[in-house]
Assembly symmetry: C2
């Protein structure tokens, strides 16, 4: 499958790398390709500059948001949540229309430090904003509830027995995302319902952050639902 991943940070790189290793044809989209490739310093999280990562992933193309979106039969929004709508505008509605758009982003606003607040929540969500802005895209929220390394390596936590969610209005799109998740090794995939249920998975982030910074001692964890 031709897949466009919008966003060149850890989440975008991790998903693109995994999808490429599964045989898909990947293009990463970014705002300014030259600026991205010219960076030589690690990012704020200590990740190596993109060009270093790119050197070890020669099969993955890097293009503008617009070109990456145009090239993909399926798209993934892995931009930072507060910049997602602008990035998708740059990608262009014509390049999103009719396509499955997996939204893995979180609308975290770190402008006031830790803990971040959500730039949208409660009666709305980023996924709903994206769906409203691009009504002909088939937005499916998923994978935003965990750190990138766990998204693509389910076995790294509890032998893979933990959970991931789907939110979206298009059943066919959700089925396609379900198959993609299964190809990553996901077994416990819960369909929450329409795109408005993305409020739930986005509002999970504050608890995730407190767990990451406290009892879990880092980001390599996930939740598992258990029932009677």
């Amino acid at each position: 499958l031709k897949i466009g991943v919008l966003g060149s940070g850890t989440v975008g790189r991790t998903l693109a790398g995994k999808l490429s290793s599964l045989g898909h044809d990947l293009t990463i989209g970014t705002r300014d390709v030259d600026a991205l490739m010219a960076r030589t310093e690690p990012d704020g999280m200590g990740n190596p500059p993109f060009s270093v990562w790119k050197g070890s992933h020669p099969a993955i193309a890097v293009e503008t948001f617009e070109v990456a979106a145009a090239s993909g039969e399926l798209l993934i929004n892995a931009t930072s949540g507060t910049g997602s709508l602008e990035a998708l505008e740059q990608a262009g509605a014509a390049n999103l229309n009719g396509k499955v758009l997996i939204d893995v982003s979180n609308p975290l606003d770190f402008s006031n430090g830790f803990p971040p607040s959500l730039s949208v929540c409660n009666t709305d969500s980023l996924a709903e904003q994206i769906q409203r802005a691009f009504p002909e895209a088939k937005v499916v929220k998923s994978l935003n509830t965990m750190t990138a390394a766990v998204m693509v390596d389910t076995g790294s936590v509890a032998g893979g027995d933990h959970d991931v969610f789907l939110s979206g209005d298009d059943e066919g799109a959700k089925n396609q995302v379900r198959k993609l998740l299964a190809s990553f090794g996901w077994k416990n995939i819960h369909d929450l319902g329409g795109i408005e249920t993305a409020r739930g998975v986005e509002m999970w982030l504050p608890l995730w952050l407190f767990l990451m910074g406290g009892p879990m001692g880092g980001a390599m964890f996930n939740l598992k639902m258990v029932k009677a």
Copy 2:
């Protein structure tokens, strides 16, 4: 221990019943004792009227918020979240000061139907509002992340191997709540940190509600954290 439970709904009844069965001396607080005892119809959730429940729990006293709060050495806020601050005002600051106040409520606003929104979230929480309004109470948020039946019967789900959280600024108060939770059978008790971490557990509710109404097929479930 003398324990005052503010709130006569399902959560208050369930916690009071469990604590009474463990040998504690329970008083349930309510706005208007006569009105509560006079009700003969089931509530909106189909629960029997309070007087019927009370008939099978003769050892549990029923008093005003004020008398119940005054009588308790430890207090539990099990009122509906949108009415909690008013109920605690009626209880009276003098009756809360210096005491552990376990806040199990959720600020769910059903006035616009399902899904409810939160009346406070993101940069604040109900638990923080309560702590600010009653600075000399030792507020500990806990147990709000699940249905009442699971709070007091951990074994009803996955053999008891699932998780509960603590948020609060007073370490001694959190230790006291930890012991109380252990007496219920809780094993996986995660201390998230200060009272501001209540934002996380309150903002979990939207996802809980979507899971309850969807993939979990009801309220008898909980989450379990798993890590690498």
